[in-house]
């Protein structure tokens, strides 16, 4: 009986349904998704928000609510997939909500048909939601109100435009939004510490390369390349005053030395483990320096001086920075890539790395417990969180969220610390900042025009008279551009300045051509982008856009920048 494997727990129905996504964000990501409640504030043709929700309902977001006061019209049926003929004249919020709910019985959905003005006027109207998505057009004072709420309550806010062939979205995240599980590419992130080996690793390598020259050929061809490199580094040091190869030239010399040491008098004419060693020289023989972003993190005031209510992230970050100060390296991640080796040698090598990683983790954990006592934290941080931090320490990302631009009719926009870089990038070929400026002009135009001239529903440029609206909106866009250049304190010379103006003018013209219309393809594509970012933000995995993304469906290009 003893060698019978344990009985198999096949996957549950839920695991089967979500199999293809669980392979990306795992059960913790899935749980985060299921605990979210998303509000969509919908308006205009209203497609991009619904397409976004579609991609969130399918993977199983917990709860969604659609606020939309529009009544289903003929035009909706030509662009929105989640409405049918029998819904004509009914509430768009209600019917889109119901058809979306059909996609996944595990998801709860709700709708609000009340106009956005009165909905927002109620106290605590936004309280139930963890994340809010606003689809343009919306009156600027209402957007400003939601934005202020997001700032005060650390709620994540997305603002989307989808107009004709173009789209834009901006994300307003809390000022400190850390991501531990960034899913870096495993190929580029292996950390073997070959230039800073520890006693156990040195011992292991020495043992495996003891009689390298006299080894039987089968043994020689199975020495793990990590051991080979450590061995030849020792040989190199003897001839180089105890120095490791540092420069590119030295490394290529070292690589040639390893290459020459391979045995070629065999039927294959070479050895795979030596090939692997040679291939690893340039990428593995680097001092294990943390990235600029991680060093930056350690210098952050929130990390240096832990507040009494510091979050787990900052407490662990502080503990890891103590480790870094003491040893000059980050805790060892502990994973070893696959390599030509005998099974038992490889498992031993894995264990050498794993035990060192566990030792480093224990030390960081001690510091965490000490810090917790210092700030009188009542609930201890879970060990698995500290472990995840140590494993990913080199690739941790901190996004500094901030409010995006909210245009107010007739007011000059303030760009602050992003003015310089935006103004500089304005004139780059393929820059999409001119298109962002056109979208800001779109918002200012709609803020100044409403359908009934009573301050109600905004009117999009080009709905009825494209020529007149193009002229007006171009004027607005040029002013936004000039104000930006002025605030940046730079001067853009011709022909660059005229060229940037031409681009802005063309983008305005193409936006006005749509007359506020959504094209289904662009709404779908943008809904894909936004839902992907919502998932990243909700699961706190991967790296979200910081903080503005533009899609140009004429050239089929995206651009990302910070405003």
């Amino acid at each position: 009986m003893a060698d019978l494997p344990p009985p198999v727990q096949g996957p549950t129905a839920k695991e089967k349904k979500y199999d293809r996504q669980l392979r990306l964000w795992g059960p913790t990501g899935q749980r985060a998704l299921e605990e979210s409640h998303i509000l969509l504030v919908n308006s205009g043709p209203g497609v991009v928000g619904i397409e976004t929700l579609k991609n969130l309902v399918l993977p199983g977001v917990g709860y969604f609510t659609i606020q939309d006061s529009a009544v289903v019209s003929e035009a909706d049926l030509g662009v929105n997939f989640f409405l049918e003929e029998r819904h004509l004249g009914g509430s768009r919020a209600e019917h889109t909500c119901n058809l979306l709910k059909e996609l996944n019985p595990d998801v709860q959905g709700d709708f609000i048909t009340e106009p956005v003005e009165s909905f927002l006027a109620k106290p605590d109207s936004l309280k139930p939601y963890t994340l809010v998505i606003v689809a343009a057009p919306i009156r600027p004072e209402l957007l400003a109100k939601i934005s202020a709420y997001a700032s005060a309550n650390s709620v994540q806010l997305f603002y989307i435009h989808s107009v004709g062939f173009y789209s834009h979205f901006s994300i307003h995240l809390p000022p400190s939004f850390p991501i531990v599980d960034t899913h870096p590419d495993p190929e580029t992130t292996t950390d073997l510490r070959l230039l800073k080996p520890w006693a156990e690793l040195i011992m292991f390598a020495e043992e495996k390369t003891k009689s390298l020259d006299t080894m039987a050929s089968d043994d020689h061809g199975h020495v793990p390349y990590v051991c080979l490199l450590l061995h030849y580094l020792e040989v190199w040091k003897k001839d180089h005053d105890g120095q490791q190869p540092r420069t590119y030239k030295e490394k290529t010399e070292f690589r040639d030395m390893v290459k020459k040491a391979a045995r070629t008098d065999n039927p294959e004419g070479g050895e795979e483990n030596y090939d692997e060693a040679v291939a690893a020289v340039l990428k593995s023989l680097n001092p294990p320096e943390p990235s600029g972003a991680v060093k930056e993190l350690f210098k952050d005031p929130e990390c240096l001086l832990l507040k009494d209510d510091a979050s787990s992230f900052w407490i662990i970050a502080h503990a890891v920075s103590l480790f870094y100060t003491k040893y000059g390296v980050l805790p060892l991640p502990g994973s070893v890539p696959d390599m030509k080796a005998r099974s038992s040698d490889y498992i031993q090598l894995q264990n050498v790395y794993k035990s060192k990683a566990r030792k480093d983790l224990a030390e960081v954990l001690d510091s965490v417990r000490f810090l917790e006592r210092n700030i009188n934290r009542s609930t201890p941080i879970e060990e698995k969180d500290v472990e995840a931090f140590c494993k990913n320490a080199a690739h941790i990302k901190l996004v500094r969220g901030r409010p995006f631009q909210v245009v107010q009719a007739g007011e000059t926009l303030k760009w602050g610390d992003t003015a310089k870089s935006l103004a500089q990038n304005l004139t780059f070929q393929d820059s999409l900042i001119p298109l962002y400026i056109a979208f800001l002009a779109f918002d200012e135009f709609t803020a100044m025009h409403d359908k009934d001239a009573l301050g109600g529903t905004p009117r999009a440029p080009g709905e009825t008279n494209p020529e007149v609206d193009t002229e007006k909106m171009t004027g607005i866009a040029f002013k936004i551009m000039d104000d930006l250049i002025k605030e940046a304190g730079t001067f853009i010379e011709d022909p660059d300045y005229s060229e940037a103006k031409t681009w802005v003018g063309e983008y305005v013209q193409e936006l006005v051509r749509a007359g506020g219309a959504e094209l289904h393809n662009i709404a779908t594509l943008t809904g894909g982008l936004v839902s992907q970012e919502v998932i990243k933000v909700m699961t706190e995995q991967y790296v979200p856009v910081d903080n503005t993304c533009i899609f140009d469906g004429v050239k089929s290009k995206t651009g990302v920048f910070r405003v």
């Binding site: 344990p6 096949g10 662009v79 004709g164 099974s343 289904h520 004429v554």
Partner: protein, 439 residues
């Protein structure tokens, strides 16, 4: 209850194009990037509603493509897919419900979209693309592919390139192809014979390297090695008479238990049921978001191509490929992939593509390597030089005759620089290579 309109008219209950109000803004107006001579308005609308378009694949991409084409004003849409619906499709293939599991994808998808978008006619075919001949493909104006198989893409690509008749401009069918993997994907537009084709771009999609058999058999190190061992070796040894069915839970469970036991013998941690399934079925992660992005990009290009409402990807000498990455922020790279003159499909017939090989390889080893090499990816090659037949997969008597060559070294069979012709039952053409000895 809502009151139903008097009649179900495709354009709107009043018979006017009120339903297409948004689309018509674009179709009726010139823009800064449209050709000044572009026939906008009536002519563009007419062209769009008449264009017959083929969608290959009704899976994650296909569902999105069908929906987006119907809502872009295409009214004569055909769709081909041979698959049936599985429960693991439901997290993204939004035209299918739990009750549809087991039914044909093409049929369910076509019915759903036809019902939802009035006026769109969608004709499904539940079968293989290889069932159809040139005459069938000739009826379409544009072909959009949402496939997960490289082999099927190469087949349709080769077929469309082969159909081009210089005397007949209608024989050139633009091919728009989308693909995704997790948070990544691509959309590309191909004008067969005029611009870079799928075969020219083959090395952009290199297959995953297979683990050597000796590693599986004697020195496993990773949990995946134990699973592959159970899959390739143990099953063959112990359950030879049962055909392995990747979708049979009993079979996967058997492999999982075998793999787990082997892993325990070698002290290798990490074998799970989910990993077993992933390795055996070669599962690629897939989510709704990426499918939406890539499919919509394909449909955006199809719409621009059919209407000239704006410049499209793929016009000769311009960008034809958009690469998308969404795991770290959002990044796209849109560029012109250059046509290759030695492309075995669309290149000059007289040029053989150079292939570096180790002349110490046996013919068998060389043929095995063709499956993995990014620039060939051929699984069942038949090979001959101008003078002699080196190895034939069929018919059986030719195979028997050429079998002894498999264990011979390459240098015993061909000269350095000699040309060989390779055919594979998966493709309707022959590949010409010039073998260059590495040593």
């Amino acid at each position: 209850m809502d009151e139903a309109p008097a009649a179900s008219l495709p354009n709107g209950s009043d018979g006017q194009r009120t339903r297409w109000k948004y689309l018509d803004n674009i179709l009726n107006r010139l823009g800064p990037f449209t050709d000044p001579d572009w026939e906008h308005g009536e002519a563009a609308i007419e062209g769009l509603s008449r264009a017959k378009i083929l969608v290959i694949g009704a899976g994650g991409l296909g569902c999105e493509i069908l929906k987006s084409l119907a809502l872009s004003g295409f009214q004569d849409i055909h769709v081909i897919d041979m698959d049936t619906i599985d429960v693991s499709n439901l997290n993204r293939q939004f035209l299918f419900r739990q009750a549809d599991v087991g039914k044909y994808k093409a049929e369910v998808a076509a019915n759903f979209v036809e019902k939802r978008v009035k006026g769109a006619k969608i004709t499904p075919y539940c079968g293989k693309i290889q069932d159809k001949d040139e005459e069938y493909y000739m009826q379409f104006a544009i072909i959009v592919c949402g496939l997960d198989s490289i082999e099927a893409r190469r087949w349709i690509n080769a077929t469309l390139v082969g159909m081009v008749d210089e005397q007949n401009p209608d024989s050139m069918k633009p091919l728009i192809d989308g693909g995704t993997e997790g948070f990544k994907g691509q959309a590309r537009v191909i004008f067969p014979t005029m611009t870079s084709c799928i075969e020219c771009q083959l090395d952009m999609h290199a297959p995953r390297a297979a683990v050597p058999l000796c590693t599986l058999a004697t020195i496993p190190r990773q949990p995946q090695h134990c699973i592959e061992w159970a899959h390739i070796i143990a099953w063959e040894e112990e359950r030879k008479d049962i055909t392995l069915d990747n979708d049979d839970p009993e079979h996967i469970t058997w492999l999982y238990q075998k793999a787990l036991k082997r892993a325990q013998e070698f002290n290798i941690p990490g074998v799970t049921y989910s990993m077993t399934q992933g390795v055996v079925k070669n599962i690629i992660p897939a989510i709704a978001s990426t499918n939406a992005i890539v499919a919509a990009s394909c449909c955006n290009e199809a719409f621009k191509l059919a209407t000239n409402t704006n410049p499209f990807l793929g016009f000769p000498e311009t960008d034809n490929y958009m690469m998308y990455t969404g795991d770290e922020s959002i990044y796209t790279y849109t560029f012109q992939h250059m046509k290759k003159s030695d492309c075995p499909v669309c290149g000059d017939d007289s040029i053989a593509r150079p292939l570096q090989i180790d002349s110490n390889f046996t013919l068998q080893e060389f043929l095995d390597s063709l499956a993995e090499r990014p620039e060939s990816q051929l699984k069942k090659p038949t090979i001959r030089t101008e003078e002699k037949s080196l190895y034939y997969q069929f018919p059986p008597d030719l195979r028997q005759q050429t079998q002894p060559n498999l264990s011979k070294k390459i240098y015993e069979l061909v000269e350095n620089g000699e040309e060989v012709a390779i055919t594979d039952p998966a493709f309707p053409l022959q590949f010409k290579y010039k073998l260059i000895f590495k040593d």
